[in-house]
Each structure stands twice: as C-alpha cells, then as structure tokens.
C-alpha cells in the first residue's frame, strides 16, 4: 500500500530532512491523509508546527503491514480547514489538540472542546459543556477529578438510564505539566528527567523513544549492548504493570488470592528493574547514546534467578484467576469494544490486540534490539474485559519467555557511545511498544539543531475513547473493571 503513497516514507527510529517532506495546501493535505487512512494507514501523530505567521499541519502515519511510516504536511495557513474527524474518528482528539494549541479550526468537528487548557481562573481545566442525554428517566453521574484510591485525577461524566450507561464522557487535563511547551528550543537540562516522567509507569518506553529520537537526529544508533539492555528493561516494565493490573482486576471482582499475590509480585518485578539501575521505575537507565548502567554477569545471574521465581509466582496466581468460573463470568461480555470501532478510533496496544487487531510496534515497526529478537504478538478476539485481561496474561508469558531467551544470549560491547549534535532542520520519529501500547515521539529541529517542535503521543491519547465506548450499554457498576482492563495514563495524556 505504501509503495504508491505521495507521503515521504521512513522507517521507525530514523530521520529525514524537513525539506523532503511533501507539502500541500491544507485541503489537499487533509484529502491526501484521508486517502492513506482509507487504504490501511493509521494515525501515529498529527500536530502543528508554527511557520512564518501561520502553522503547518504534520501527519505521521503508520503502514503496519508494510512496516513503514509515512510523513506529510500542509503548507502554513491560519483559520479553518476541513476536519478529518468527520470521516476518520481516530483524528478526533488530535484535531482538538491542534485547535487548542494553534488556533486552527477543524471545520465540521463534531465535538470541538479543550483538551487540557486551564480555565480563566487558572485553577482547573476548561472542561466546557458536557454531552447530555435528555429524558425524565436519565440521570447523570459525575466522578472525580480526585478518585477514591491512590490514582491520578480525571473527570468522568456518565449519562445513565437506571444502571445502564448510555454515554460516558471523559474530561482530562488535570495533570497538565507543560512538557511539550518546555521542550521548545531543547533539549534542556531537565529534558531527560521530564521524559522519564511523561508517564511514570512507562519510564523505559518514553526514555527509549526520546533517546532513539536523539540518536536518529545524530545519524547514529546506540551500541547493541545498550539496545539489548533497553529491550530487557522494557519487558520488565511490561511484566510489572501487567501483573499489577491482573491483581487490580482480581481485586475489583473481589477475588482476593490473585489480588494479594499479584500486588506483591508486581513489586518483585519493579525490584528487578531496580537491580539494573537502582530505581524501581527505571529512571537513570536509558540515556541518548546508550545506557547508564550495565548488567554485569553476576547481576544478570541474580536477575535471572529472581525473574524465574517471580514468573512462577505470577503463573500460579494468574492460573487461580482463570480457574475460577466466577471470575470468567464476571469478565465475559462486559465492556466490549468491537473490532470495527477499535480500527475507527485507532486503538493501540493490548486494548487493540484484545479486539483481534495485530498491532504491536515490536513486530510491525521493529527498531533497536527488536530487529534481532521479537516476541510473538498476543491477540485475542471479542474486545471485552475478558479479552483485555487475557491479552495481558498472554503477554506476561511471552515477556517472560523473551527475557529468559535474552538473558542467556546478551549482546556484548560498549554501553554508551558519543552522540553527534542533532542535525538541523530534520524530523525524526521513534515508536516504542510500551506496556499500554505505542509510544510515539517526533522531533523537528531548527537551523541550529534545537527542537523546533517535539510531539509526544502516549498510547493513552489513542485509547481513552476506547474506554468511553466500552462503557456504552454496560452497567455503571462495571466501570471499575472496564477502567482497570485499560488502565490508561492521565499524565501521559495530559503531558
């Protein structure tokens, strides 16, 4: 499909000069993007780049079956353009964001409202009006921003008829820390630690995406040893989070044995990351040009031994869970997202794979160590809570197998190489399959090689709409298990 595209092609973790990206007048550009989406491409990123007195729109698309990415842009303009969302819903949040950040109006957008802008008083997000269902029997439930647990803030607005949820609108923005804005003219002193905290439970994936972008801009790549270490740390991150979520799902249906066991095992996996770098979330491990801590033979042996114990414990705890008919019955046919919906809204990660979509950056767009060693893609049909839990548990097994294999055959060599300064007027793209799905970083440098624009797309940005759709027609009491089965990031969305 990609062979005939007018867009500029590039592989994951590479760069190309800004001048080589084809530009169209905006209406033609939107039409060209729609054409590519119609024949199998999907949205990775869509953002504005200020140029002269206007803004160019840039689209980064993925042709998964061809293992290639495509980039195109509009000429600089101001004012309105024909919205893509009307025909391609996966653009809906991207277009709202571009409207908020650059004042470009996607004409015809069905639900144009702020994403994370602060209100006039400067103390809360400008949520705007919520969608309302009218009727004497209809009632509205508002939850958050502060939630009943140790969890990030966001606001959920349910329109219900009795127990049944007719519509859920999710209003975020509470976690907005200004990361993208701070990156202008970067990298700065704080940039690396900000990248490690875009979404704190996805430190390795975001740090790897950032480091990869810097390496692509320098026209090089990290030493193989570092690529291998990043791949190991990425799977440890996946194991910790998936195991924690299996425990949380068990807790939400009051299945305490798995909840208790997984809560502890999650910590065991985090401690393995800490064994590598001292930090349970992997901070300080990945740096542009390589890694900062090595895994010597003694440490690797300890990692392997403790990993085996944790994996065996997980296997047992997860087996109890699937063994229980009560748990299975509670998860089946709850919170279903249909495959057609998943494709239309551009779901990524385990949430997409639980709808039967084969969509995994490690497989579709391998970069770094994944060019040499891959894990099978875990897919399950149906799209309900059961499927999402099933995909998580399959991925736990496959990540375990992957790590077992990798730890027996480590890459040798340097830990970190020198990095040339970023190339000027160049665009670089890095995709990493984090545990929630596709982490996308796009950098565009100016004439001096500083960041002219840096775009971060956390998988949650694609997937929050999936949770909203999962709730349609479901009982409001099923919200907790639906929410846990996605477990999306608030700060990754809010940046």
């Amino acid at each position: 499909m990609s062979a005939t595209t007018p867009f500029a092609l590039l592989a994951n973790a590479t760069s190309l000069p800004w001048a080589e990206i084809p530009a169209w007048p905006v209406a033609e550009f939107v039409h060209a993007t729609a054409t590519e989406l119609n024949r199998g491409a999907r949205f990775c990123a869509w953002f504005g780049v200020p140029e002269h007195s206007g803004t160019c729109l840039v689209a980064v698309l993925a042709f998964d079956v061809d293992n290639t990415l495509a980039v195109g842009r509009s000429e600089a303009f101001t004012g309105a353009y024909p919205a893509l969302t009307t025909t391609h819903p996966q653009a809906h949040l991207f277009e709202r964001e571009v409207w908020e950040q650059h004042g470009l109006t996607p004409a015809g957008h069905p639900w144009l409202k702020p994403v994370r802008r602060t209100n006039e008083k400067g103390n809360a997000p400008a949520n705007g009006e919520f969608f309302r269902v009218e009727g004497g029997e209809v009632h509205e439930v508002a939850v958050g921003p502060v939630h009943a647990g140790v969890i990030e803030p966001g606001h959920f607005r349910f329109q219900c008829a009795g127990e049944e949820v007719l519509h859920l609108e999710i209003a975020l923005g509470y976690q907005h820390r200004g990361i993208e804005e701070a990156l202008r003219d970067g990298p700065h002193r704080a940039t690396m630690s900000q990248m490690e905290t875009v979404a704190g439970d996805t430190t390795i994936a975001h740090a790897t995406a950032y480091a990869t972008v810097m390496e692509a801009l320098a026209g090089t790549e990290a030493p193989l040893r570092a690529q291998w270490l990043r791949a190991v740390a990425l799977e440890l991150e996946r194991l910790a989070n998936h195991t924690g979520d299996m425990g949380a799902l068990a807790g939400d249906v009051a299945f305490l044995p798995t909840m208790s066991a997984c809560g502890k095992i999650r910590g065991d996996f985090l401690n393995l990351t800490a064994l590598m770098c001292g930090n349970r979330f992997g901070r300080g491990l990945v740096r542009p040009g390589g890694c900062r801590h090595d895994l010597d033979a003694g440490r690797a042996a300890q990692l392997k031994e403790r990993l085996e114990t944790a994996l065996a414990d997980t296997k047992q705890a997860v087996a109890w869970f699937w063994d229980s008919a009560a748990v299975r019955a509670r998860f089946e046919n709850v919170g279903t997202v249909f495959p057609a919906q998943a494709t239309a809204i551009g779901l990524v990660g385990p949430a997409a794979r639980a709808c039967g979509l084969v969509r995994d950056v490690r497989f579709d767009h391998p970069a770094g160590w994944h060019r040499f060693a891959q894990a099978p893609v875990a897919v399950w049909p149906v799209g309900d809570v059961f499927a999402r839990a099933k995909v998580r548990s399959l991925e736990i097994e496959r990540s375990g197998d992957y790590l077992r294999e990798q730890l027996t055959a480590p890459a040798e060599g340097e830990l970190r190489g020198e990095l040339a300064p970023p190339a000027p007027d160049t665009l670089a793209v890095a995709l990493v399959e984090g545990w929630r799905g596709e982490v996308c970083h796009v950098a565009l440098t100016d004439a001096a090689g500083r960041f002219r624009r840096y775009k971060i797309v956390d998988p949650s940005f694609h997937n929050w709409m999936g949770l909203a759709l999962a709730l349609r027609g479901t009982a409001i009491s099923d919200f907790p298990i639906c929410n846990k089965s996605f477990n999306l990031s608030y700060c990754g969305h809010d940046l």
Binding site: I179, Q194, T197, V198, L275, S324
Partner: protein
C-alpha cells in the same frame, strides 16, 4: 481447584509481611545510593562543577558561601556525585529522608551536612492519629510512580493496615492528605476543595520531589512548584519516587511509632 491451591499456597508461604519496623528494614537496591550527604569543607574554592549538571536546579553555590543542595528538589540521579572532583557530595545508603520542615532538606551549611530527620507530631495529635490515621490521596500532576510506591504499602509485603494507616475514599473520612505531583494549575482548585473537606485537626504529607518542590517541572507556568504553595505541609518525603520504605519510615516517624527502630537496626 483454586480454593485448595490458594490454601496450600498460603500455608507454604506463611506470612509474607516484612518484620520492619521491629525487624530490619528492607535493603535498598545497591545502585540506589540512598540519601545524600554534603561536606562543603571538601569543596575546592570556587568549584561549581555540580551546579549545572543537576536537572532540577537543586544545587546552588553563591560566591563565598558553601554549596547548598536541596534534597527536596533532588531526583537522586547522582549526576552531582559522579562529577564532584573532591567527593564533597556522597551517597549514604540511608533510606531515611523524611523531614518535618522544608529547610531541613537543605544540605551543605556547617552542621547541616545531612537531612534533619522528622520528629513525631505533638502529644495531642499523636493521641488522635498515632494508632489510627486515615489519609486521602491527591495526585496533582504526579506521574503515577509516587502513587504506585504509595499504593504498594497496602500490599501484603508491607501491610500498612497493621499500623492503623489506611487510604480512604472520601476527604470526609480522612484525617489528612497525602499529596503527590507538583500541583498543576489544573489541580489547584480540586486540591483546595479536598483540603477544605477534611475535618480539623488535619495533617498533610508531600511525597516525592514534585510534591516538595516541583521536581523536574519546577518553574513551568503550568505547575505550582510543590504542595506547600497551596496547603501547609507537615511531612516531606524526598525521592523520585521515594522508595516505599522511605515513605513508610516517614509515616511511622511522624506518628511516633519508631521507638524500636534503633534497637532493631543494631
């Protein structure tokens, strides 16, 4: 068969809750390094090598003054430890870092080489909260790491419930707040409302570099550089994120529940 399985499992594993604080504290990962110590007498005259490498601007050295390292801003990346030519900044390996006053985290002045650890609440508050503390957690721009390592205290390994400490689902049920994140502008109102909804007397605990001083986001227009810009804070727990044992130690120190700690450590 999971019933038999789980019962066998439990019998085989026994109690998995750690002995701390009666027994030894869990060991920090060897690459963690623990709290920092600043011996400014070691600094070469005019040396400012550590100042520009700190990602969160936690280190300052004004002309003629000793170096000052603010452990509240510190994210424990150890870049300063690595670059210091005279080993003036070192890692102590100590997990204990929580303090009662913000200034107790500033290291470097004579007699202030290390953090001045938290002391317990006064007698009246200790009587109220010492054996039963209910906390409402407010994440206000937290990245989910401080939240995760606070959450882990509720798991079987740590079992926070044995100290009478519990996270509750409403500020009306709470004796205080545990805040994470720099407090974004967008969470300012929600934090103020939550604080107001907790009945007095109440306490506030700030967990992590963001909640203490803005962390990696210090100075951004979108954030407030820490919880104490909005509400009074009674306990500051440094880290990015703090290790769970650092948080637990802080909570227990605040409640005056650590009389046995030194004996156990020996």
């Amino acid at each position: 068969m999971f019933i038999i399985d789980t019962i066998t499992h439990r019998l085989k594993r026994g109690c998995e809750t750690m002995a701390y604080p009666q027994g030894p504290a869990p060991v920090l990962p060897d690459r963690h390094g623990g709290a920092l110590k600043v011996d400014a007498t070691q600094c070469a005259a005019g040396c400012t090598a550590c100042v520009p490498v700190c990602p969160t601007q936690a280190i300052t050295r004004l002309a003629g003054k000793p170096v000052a390292l603010d452990l509240g801003r510190c994210i424990f990346c150890a870049a300063c430890v690595e670059i210091c030519p005279s080993k003036a900044i070192t890692q102590t390996g100590d997990y204990r870092m929580a303090v009662r006053r913000r200034e107790d985290l500033v290291l470097g002045a004579p007699g202030k080489e290390q953090v001045r650890l938290a002391v317990a609440l006064d007698k009246k508050l200790r009587r109220l909260f010492g054996r039963s503390l209910r906390l409402r957690q407010v994440s206000a721009g937290g990245c989910a790491a401080c939240e995760a390592d606070t959450n882990v205290l509720g798991t079987i390994g740590w079992d926070l419930g044995r100290f009478g400490i519990q996270f509750v689902a409403s500020p009306r049920h709470a004796d205080g707040l545990l805040i994470t994140g720099p407090v974004t502008k967008n969470m300012e109102l929600a934090l103020q409302k939550t604080y107001a909804a907790v009945a007095a007397p109440k306490i506030v605990i700030a967990v992590g570099a963001c909640a203490i001083a803005g962390g990696p986001f210090v100075g951004h227009a979108q954030v407030n550089n820490g919880a104490n810009t909005i509400v009074p804070v009674d306990l500051f727990v440094p880290g990015c994120p703090p290790h769970p044992v650092t948080i637990l130690h802080g909570l227990l120190a605040l409640l005056g529940r650590l009389q046995n700690e030194n004996r156990a450590a020996r």
